[in-house]
């Protein structure tokens, strides 16, 4: 436990120093937002065994709510962040209450369909400005810090990410978290032990939605915009991939997965040009325009051969070596 704490503190120090050693703050902030999003999602898939295919609704919904709160109502930044998170939690309460009425594969289909409904609502509602999205959201001040400065914002986003990560950690390592794992492993048994499984599922769904919302609200601040793409089913797929590739049911997995996926999105184009130059096959040029091909391939490889994810495989490798 102590070793773990020390390594976390080390990681936090490195994270705090990253902008000083030349990392582009916006990029790292983007990774942290997605990492928090994936950690929130992992509470459901990794620790409770529920596959939500609609988490983009919370990310996108919170981004719009925060953006509207700041840009139109002119509220302080902290109110905007809390409002976005609250809206996502409320959406989670409604979607969760409906989705837990069915289990397994139906749960996934229901969350997907509900998120698509939310997407169409955002597409048509006047306050989202349709395809254009909300632009120029003011970042404002937080506790006297001027957030229009990227570096100031960086440390705020880092604090939010660390706090969100800590909440996930605390949740999983609590009696509540033990019941969640029991539900994942054997739901009928958990029921027969006297746990009201539906309440537990709903509570963790709301918590996951709220944290995903916090990620979305933060993302709106970072990019000073909220757009439809945050609420699409492709985004819901992205967060599944982040969790899967890093390792579901592990703590560091989703963070690593988020980093890999964001890197991929940014760098696939360059990689394609490099391949085209190196091999002379011009088709590689189009790779950048169709990140989906690469994402799809990784998805297939992960599901077929790599189900534990990177962190999961590492843990397993250490176990077998130790035994």
């Amino acid at each position: 436990m102590n070793r773990q704490l020390i390594s976390y503190i080390l990681v936090a120090i490195v994270l705090a120093l990253l902008p000083a050693i030349g990392a582009y703050p916006i990029f790292v902030m983007k990774v942290m937002c997605y990492a928090l999003f994936a950690c929130a999602f992992n509470l459901l898939l990794g620790y409770t065994g529920l596959l939500s295919f609609g988490h983009a609704a919370f990310l996108g919904g919170a981004a719009y709510a925060t953006g509207h709160c700041l840009a139109v109502w002119g509220m302080p930044t902290i109110v905007g962040l809390l409002f976005g998170t609250g809206v996502a939690a409320l959406m989670g309460l409604v979607m969760g209450a409906l989705a837990i009425r069915r289990s397994g594969i139906y749960f996934a289909m229901i969350t997907l369909a509900m998120a698509q409904m939310v997407f169409f609502f955002f597409l048509q509602a006047p306050f989202t400005h349709g395809e254009d999205g909300l632009q120029g959201i003011p970042r404002g001040n937080l506790f006297g810090l001027d957030l229009s400065n990227d570096l100031n914002l960086y440390y705020v986003v880092m604090a939010i990410f660390v706090a969100g990560y800590a909440i996930c950690w605390r949740t999983v390592n609590s009696p509540f978290g033990q019941v969640l794992k029991a539900i994942r492993e054997n739901e009928p048994r958990a029921i027969s032990l006297g746990y009201n499984v539906d309440n537990f599922k709903l509570l963790v769904f709301v918590l996951s939605a709220a944290l995903a919302g916090l990620a979305g609200a933060t993302k709106a601040l970072v990019f000073v915009s909220a757009t439809l793409s945050d609420a699409t089913w492709q985004m819901s797929g992205m967060v599944i991939l982040m969790t899967l590739i890093g390792g579901m049911g592990t703590f560091t997995g989703p963070v690593l997965g988020a980093f890999i996926v964001v890197m991929l999105e940014n760098k696939v184009g360059e990689f394609g040009r490099f391949l085209a130059n190196a091999t002379g096959v011009q088709w590689f040029q189009v790779l950048g325009e169709s990140v989906t091909i690469v994402i799809g391939l990784i998805f297939i490889v992960c599901v077929m051969a790599f189900r534990r994810g990177i962190v999961g495989e590492l843990v397993q490798w250490r176990k077998t070596r130790g035994a």
């Binding site: 397994g104 139906y106 091909i293 799809g296």
Partner: protein
């Protein structure tokens, strides 16, 4: 000109027919999903992408080889089915022992891959596909103008659905299939080659999606994205109907299409979401779905 609730009757019937056309696609696609899920326990996310593939194969046949609509109506489903059989043998087969969710995730990855490939070649804009000569034009029925091709889509889909129902419920092959759904180990013990039946079932279910794609080609624009938006609505249709009964899938699909058509007339803003709203109501009142059995 007569009107109902202030809506010209012609517009009303026009939207009703459009709704029926959409409903036909819902019915054929949800039927395929149900048949596949029954035996494989896999929800085939790629169903929408394979529907798109069917439409594209029809378009490519005409564009590059000059093969007409009727030939492609036969060839495209066969090719899509063959592609399905290949993916089942190579990929999906290895996931049967695992949680059902992996099947969904794998087919989701397949969807991204197929869509991505077509997008990188054809972009996102739609390709027009001409209506076959035989089905051009329309008939004036007095109360409405009936485009022949749309009527054909509905009739062809219903015939296809009923034929599927007949094969599964009334023939010996269907009996094996239903028995396999109930208890595949026992059926295998009787000497039936169950893995082969599973493969062929997947191929058939997927071929249905390809068939729907060819039907859709002259009405919808043939575009790489035509399947993914449809498949999510079809998922809602499947949740509403439940996957327990074949007739249930057909009736739910057509019914929801009609409701969607009417919503377009009376409250256009809600026409995109009405199916999802109905799903919510059904989940509240009858969580197992209209025709489903809670396992």
């Amino acid at each position: 000109m007569t009107a109902i609730f202030g809506i010209p009757i012609q517009a009303l019937f026009g939207q009703l027919l459009l709704g029926l056309v959409n409903g036909s696609f819902y019915a054929v696609l949800s039927l395929g999903l149900a048949v596949i899920f029954g035996l494989l326990n896999v929800i085939n996310f790629a169903h929408g992408a394979l529907y798109m593939l069917g439409a594209f194969i029809a378009w490519m046949g005409l564009q590059y080889l000059g093969l007409n609509y009727w030939l492609m109506l036969l060839i495209a489903p066969v090719l899509v089915g063959a592609f399905g059989i290949l993916t089942e043998r190579l990929l999906i087969r290895h996931l049967y022992k695992l949680d059902h969710l992996y099947g969904l995730l794998l087919t989701f990855g397949l969807t991204l891959l197929i869509e991505g490939v077509f997008r990188s070649i054809y972009g996102v804009s739609g390709q027009p596909y001409p209506t076959p000569d035989l089905l051009k034009g329309g008939v004036n029925l007095g109360f409405m103008y009936l485009p022949i091709y749309r009527a054909w889509v509905v009739v062809a889909s219903v015939i296809m659905c009923l034929a599927t129902w007949f094969v599964i419920e009334k023939t010996r092959l269907g009996a094996v299939l239903r028995a396999g759904t109930e208890n595949s180990k026992l059926v295998e013990a009787f000497g039936v080659n169950v893995p082969l039946v599973v493969t062929l079932t997947y191929g058939f279910g997927v071929a249905l999606a390809g068939f729907a794609g060819v039907l859709a080609a002259p009405i919808m624009q043939v575009s790489p994205l035509m399947g993914s938006n449809l498949i999510i609505v079809v998922f809602a249709v499947v949740v509403i109907g439940g996957m327990g009964s074949i007739m249930g899938s057909i009736v739910t699909g057509l019914g929801l299409g009609v409701i969607e058509g009417f919503t377009k007339v009376f409250w256009p803003e809600a026409s995109n979401t009405v199916v999802f709203i109905i799903m919510v109501i059904v989940l509240l009142l009858r969580p197992a779905g209209l025709f489903g059995k809670e396992k």
